[in-house]
């Protein structure tokens, strides 16, 4: 019995190592950005609600795995753009392409409100994110893993009503990530959180993005959040992309560093000068 156990163990170990080897090498050699994110091409995108033309021709290419922040005054159309990318509203004209076939579970959205089911325990809420895979054998395990990724493994059996605002939003992030999306659309997900929770959530968001390499599109009204997180900041004015700013600062970024503060200042002045013109 003893010997049998001893001989069989290394074999299974080898087998599992062999099957995971290709993935492991990718993770080690380069950031997985190129492998799991989807590129995004938007051509001549237009959208109006009644007589109100919200988007007036957006052309945009986002390489796979890029973290893009979209800023602008309220009502500029940034949330509408995000909803169109996520497929929540119908496009009037133009196109959005993801460079190939996409499954619904490849694109996930996170809203300003956590939108958790109050009558489902935390773990069950995360399982909702599996979409059609909810009934599969490993649903529990995958949901538990996603919950651990957002640091809430110990809250799995709680009701959402006992969680703090930041914890609820982390559960919502776990739910969005559990299906391993290739595009994550974030509609001001940290807008309702207090300043400190916000900063820790930004760190969490950056970490999971670096780990999983999805393409992230973050709509925010907070320019400092945009420059702290994004590779690239788009400023939207009157339904068009007015500025496209690349943020080259190295990661992990120092919050409040002179480089970021300078960028933030110049983007803010863009936004404010647009205000003066109108």
């Amino acid at each position: 019995m003893q010997t049998a156990l001893r001989t069989s163990l290394p074999e299974t170990e080898l087998a599992s190592r062999a099957s995971f080897a290709p993935h492991a090498r990718v993770v080690r050699e380069e950031r997985p950005v190129q492998t799991s994110g989807l590129p995004l091409s938007i051509r001549g995108l237009r959208k109006s609600f009644g007589s109100n033309e919200v988007l007036r021709g957006i052309d945009l290419h986002i390489p796979a795995g890029q973290f893009v922040a979209i800023v602008g005054k309220s009502g500029c159309g940034k949330s509408t753009l995000l909803r169109l990318i996520a497929g929540l509203d119908k496009i009037d004209a133009g196109s959005i392409g993801f460079g190939g076939d996409v499954q619904p579970a490849d694109i996930r959205v996170m809203f300003q409100e956590p939108r958790l089911l109050p009558w489902a325990r935390v773990l069950a809420n995360v399982e909702v994110g599996l979409g059609r895979d909810r009934a599969s054998q490993d649903a529990h395990a995958r949901a538990e893993k996603a919950l651990a990724e957002v640091g809430l493994a110990d809250k799995r059996d709680q009701w959402p009503s006992v969680l703090s605002g930041g914890q609820k939003q982390r559960v919502a992030l776990g739910r969005a990530l559990v299906s391993r999306p290739r595009v994550l659309a974030l509609d001001e997900p940290l807008g309702a959180l207090d300043a400190l929770t916000r900063i820790s959530m930004q760190r969490l968001l950056e970490r999971v993005w670096r780990d999983q390499g999805f393409t992230a599109i973050l709509v925010t009204h907070d320019v400092s959040e945009a420059v702290a997180l994004a590779d690239r900041v788009l400023v939207i004015e009157e339904g068009r992309i007015a500025h496209d700013v690349v943020v080259n600062a190295a990661r992990p970024r120092q919050r409040g560093s002179a480089e970021l503060a300078g960028l933030e200042g110049s983007i803010l002045s863009h936004l404010l000068s647009a205000d003066d013109r109108t």
Binding site: R115, W159, S161
Partner: protein, 268 residues
């Protein structure tokens, strides 16, 4: 309605947890004072018999088997009427809450019927059904129908649309969306409907049995009135109070079991 209900619940629910007997102090005190008032002759027994006399009357009726039979008949009528009216109300509430077409077709009609006091139909019901079981069941079912219909409809219509959008994004089918989002979301409101319906159920049954019946608690009270058995009349009224309390408590237990996620029902 539902707001006030959800606010007052945690307060009224914490008491029995602290001490299950606290809620019975007031009723027992009233009975004690009542007994003293009767024994000392402050209240003539012609007007109100002493609780001990009522208990004695109850004991005699219990021994003869009459009490159990009448309670059983009333209980049976109440539950069957409640089940019939409640299921139809629930079905209409679901249909009209989920389908615009169904709501357009039936809601106006139902709202008009709702404004007729159902007890006003007693003469018509007696003409239709006579005084047998179907008359009582019909009246109870009709009375129970509306609170359940209205609250089910309200509950389904007020489910957070953001949650429904979330469910759709995450690929829930219509069935799943109903089972996992819409129905649980409507449940607190449905329970408000059930509690109202239980009150109306007893009210309707008492009136129906008092006016036209040959068995049941209401009949027992009316018979006693004819023979001037005031202790039996009081006994029937007390039994109605206990049965009403029993129905309310059971709906609360059900509520606590199914709404344990709700902050108002969580243990503190």
């Amino acid at each position: 309605m539902s707001l006030i209900d959800s606010i007052s619940l945690p307060r009224s629910m914490r008491l029995p947890r602290v001490d299950g007997l606290v809620q019975w102090i007031v009723p027992l005190a009233i009975i004690a004072i009542w007994q003293v008032a009767c024994v000392t002759g402050f209240v003539p027994t012609r007007v109100l018999p002493a609780p001990s006399d009522v208990a004695l009357a109850g004991w005699k009726l219990l021994l003869s088997g009459e009490l159990a039979r009448n309670i059983w008949v009333s209980f049976w009528r109440a539950s069957i009427g409640f089940l019939i009216g409640g299921s139809i109300g629930f079905a209409f509430g679901l249909a009209n809450g989920l389908s615009q077409l169904s709501a357009k077709l039936t809601d106006t009609t139902l709202q008009m019927v709702r404004n007729v006091p159902h007890l006003a139909l007693i003469p018509l019901v007696i003409l239709w059904f006579g005084i047998d079981e179907s008359a009582k069941l019909f009246l109870v079912a009709l009375g129970v129908f509306f609170p359940i219909y209205l609250n089910t409809l309200h509950g389904i219509r007020t489910v957070d649309p953001q949650l429904i959008e979330m469910g759709r994004i995450y690929g829930m089918t219509d069935g799943e969306l109903f089972r996992r989002v819409i129905f649980p979301g409507a449940l607190p409101s449905i329970f408000v409907g059930i509690r109202f319906a239980l009150g109306i159920m007893w009210l309707t049954l008492i009136v129906a049995e008092t006016i036209a019946a040959s068995s049941g608690l209401g009949y027992m009270a009316m018979q006693a009135r004819e023979f001037m058995l005031i202790d039996v009349v009081v006994l029937s009224i007390l039994i109605y109070a206990l049965l009403g309390k029993l129905a309310d408590s059971s709906s609360r237990v059900l509520e606590r079991l199914t709404l344990s996620w709700h902050p108002a029902f969580q243990k503190r």
